[in-house]
Structure formats: structure tokens, C-alpha cells
Subunit: 222 residues, 2 copies
């Protein structure tokens, strides 16, 4: 990053930073409960344990964000409230019907979110960006997901086709909800604009996200 962009970083006091921490925090909570629920369909105790570990990692991230918000004098529950509807809508509209769909959703959905928030982090001061990058850090649990999915799609072409469509739908729904959140929250939109420059920059961001998405799909073999 050039010293220019650091100089023009969004100040930590910006209300958009509170919004960013809050939407990430509610993302962790909702991911926790989705994962725990979807583990019902795990084919083995090993799968259940893997999912429980992923879910527990989400709560570690939540605690980081809760502390970061507390340090700003903000109650995490108040701050999360505006984002409950959009994130719940994303999860309802992408409710997995099989264990493999859950696994793809975890891997692909987390990846899409990480791309989006990591780009925003580029506009933040180093200490604020560090919180964001910390809670987005990929965990080793992803390896479990990649193995589960690759093994299944290698032996079944119809499974592969089905999961390919599923992955495409996840990207579409995620972008829909991201746009909805931005339309509702000016503070967050300003942050995204600070990170991308202008509306063309936002379009370019969504293109880069589609490229990364395609790479993740390829990693899964779909």
C-alpha cells in the first residue's frame, strides 16, 4: 500500500467503522447458529466435530469484535440490530438442503464475505484493519470442507452439476444482500466508496469478487 492511501485512510472514529464491526459481529453469530443447525445432517461424528470447531472459531471472532466495539463505547447488541434482517434474509434464501450444500456454503460464503471486507480494510487505519483481517482469517477447517466436497464431486457428475448451480446462487444472494445493506446504511456505503474510489470502483470490486469466487469453486472441483 502506498503512503498516499495510508494518509487518506478513514479515521478510526468514522461511524462506518462501528457499522463494519457490527455487521461482521452479527455475521459471526448467524454463521455460528447456521453451522450448528446444519451439522444435524453431518454423515459422521467426525463431520459434526469439524463443524462444531468451525462454529466455535466464529465465536472467537465475535468476541474480538465485541471488544473492539466496547473500546469504541458501543454496545454490540445495539450496533448489530440494523443488520439482523439482511443477514437473516441471506441465510433463509440460501438454506442448504444437504450436507454438501452446507459445506459449499460455508466455504464459498465465507470467501465472498472475506473478499468484500478485506477490500474495505484497505481503506482503514492499520489498527482498525487488523481487527477486520483478524476475524476474516481463514481457518484450517477449510481443508476439511475442500476434501469433503472434492471427494463427493469426483464420483458424481450430477452432484457436481448441482453444487455448481448452488455455488452460483450463493454469490448472487450475497451480492443482493450486500447491496441491500449498503442502500440502508450510508455510513457503510461511504466506507466502501472510500475503499473503491467511486461507483466504477464498486463495480470493479464486484468483478474481482466474481473472479475469486470462480477460483474457490475450482478448488472445490465444481
Amino acid at each position: 500500500m502506498s503512503s498516499d492511501s495510508v494518509n487518506s485512510a478513514v479515521p478510526p472514529s468514522d461511524p462506518g467503522v462501528t457499522d463494519l464491526f457490527a455487521v461482521l459481529a452479527y455475521g459471526e453469530i448467524s454463521a455460528f447458529y447456521r453451522l450448528a443447525e446444519e451439522a444435524e445432517s453431518a454423515p459422521s461424528l467426525r463431520g459434526k466435530v469439524a463443524v462444531a470447531k468451525m462454529a466455535a472459531a466464529e465465536m472467537g471472532h465475535f468476541t474480538t469484535l465485541e471488544s473492539a466495539l466496547a473500546a469504541r463505547g458501543v454496545d454490540v447488541y445495539d450496533a448489530m440490530a440494523p443488520f439482523v434482517r439482511a443477514l437473516d434474509a441471506y441465510h433463509s434464501s440460501t438454506d442448504p438442503s444437504t450436507w454438501l450444500e452446507s459445506m459449499v456454503k460455508f466455504y464459498v460464503g465465507d470467501g465472498i464475505a472475506a473478499d468484500f471486507y478485506n477490500e474495505i480494510a484497505g481503506a482503514l487505519t492499520p489498527d482498525v484493519a487488523a481487527v477486520v483481517r483478524d476475524v476474516l482469517a481463514e481457518t484450517s477447517h477449510s481443508e476439511f470442507v475442500v476434501e469433503e466436497v472434492r471427494r463427493a464431486v469426483e464420483v458424481s457428475r450430477s452432484e457436481r452439476d448441482r453444487l455448481t448451480l448452488w455455488g452460483r446462487r450463493l454469490l448472487g444472494e450475497a451480492i443482493t444482500q450486500a447491496q441491500y445493506v449498503m442502500a440502508q446504511r450510508d455510513e457503510l456505503t461511504d466506507l466502501v466508496l472510500a475503499a473503491t474510489g467511486d461507483l466504477n470502483g464498486i463495480a470493479a470490486l464486484f468483478e474481482r469478487m466474481q473472479d475469486s469466487h470462480a477460483e474457490r469453486m475450482a478448488t472445490l472441483g465444481i
Copy 2:
């Protein structure tokens, strides 16, 4: 503890130690999923977060036990298998029908288990006992539970009566399942005997557990 009892400690290589780590590990997994499921009935987002944190703490303990078993050359999934039925039976027979019942079960059930395993830890070498005590350590989340329950029973006598009966049932079911496990697993029974001396010692252990249980019920105001 006198140097005598340390000298006569159960050696770390004892197969009962593997059983002990394994039953604790499955206890953490099953508690994780029970908590996550019961959080559906949480009256607020704050309650859901508190439960998710408790559940995440269980997974931290699971990881400790998984590592301890790996250090013994034992696969955690193989080792847990003999305990799945008894622990699942305990949870099925004590399925909470309200949020407050879930809270009482978390607090009282965890306490009963901790009493039992802490007594066994007294017969172990310090390094093995440290693993057991580490995974049984009470977390600060208990405070949340105590507050939730106390507040509810202060304003409702019928709620208090109902939860008192519920707490009594939890103790009964826990002892039933503990006896069932011991009848099935000689290695574990030998550990309990090493910790308590003889059958009279086991009876005395169950009496001490009842006393601690009564104290916990009093803390909850029931």
C-alpha cells in the same frame, strides 16, 4: 493431598485414563450441540450470544482432550464410541422444554459432572489431573445463567417449583447414566474405585455430589 495418595496415583498409562478423557470429550461435543439447539428458545439476541459462547468454550475443552488422547496414540473418535449411547440417553431423558430449563440444565448438569470428575482427578498423577481440571474449569458464563434463573424465580413461585423438580430430575438422570457407564466400562470403574477406595467410598462420593447439588440449587434460588 498427602504424598501417600500421590505415590499411589493411577499411572498415566492406565486404560481408565483413556476412557476418562474420551467420556469427557464426548460430553463436550454433545453439550455443544444441545446448547446450540436449545438457544432456539432464547428470549433475546443477548441470550443467544451467551449460549453460543458457552458452546464455543465446550469446543475449546474438546480440543484439549483430543490433543491429550492423540498424545496417548489414541484416536478421539474411536475412544468416544463406547460413551455415545449413555450420554445421548442422558440428554434425551432431560430434554428442556423451556429456556429456563435449558439454563438450569446447563448450570446444574455441568456442576454434577464437574463434581464427579474432579473426585476422580484426585486419584490421578498431576499432569493427567491437570487436563481433567482444565476442561472442567467453570467459566464466567455461569454468571449469566445464575442471573437469568434467579430473576425468573423471584417473580414466579410456580416457575420456582417447576424448576426445583427439574433440578432434582437432572441429578437422578445423571446418576443413573453414570452408573450405567460404570457398569459397562471396567476401566472407568477401576478409576472411580481408585479415587474413592471401595463401594462405601462410591456411596460417600454420591452423597457429597448431592450436597454440592443442593448448594448449586440454592445459588439459583430454587
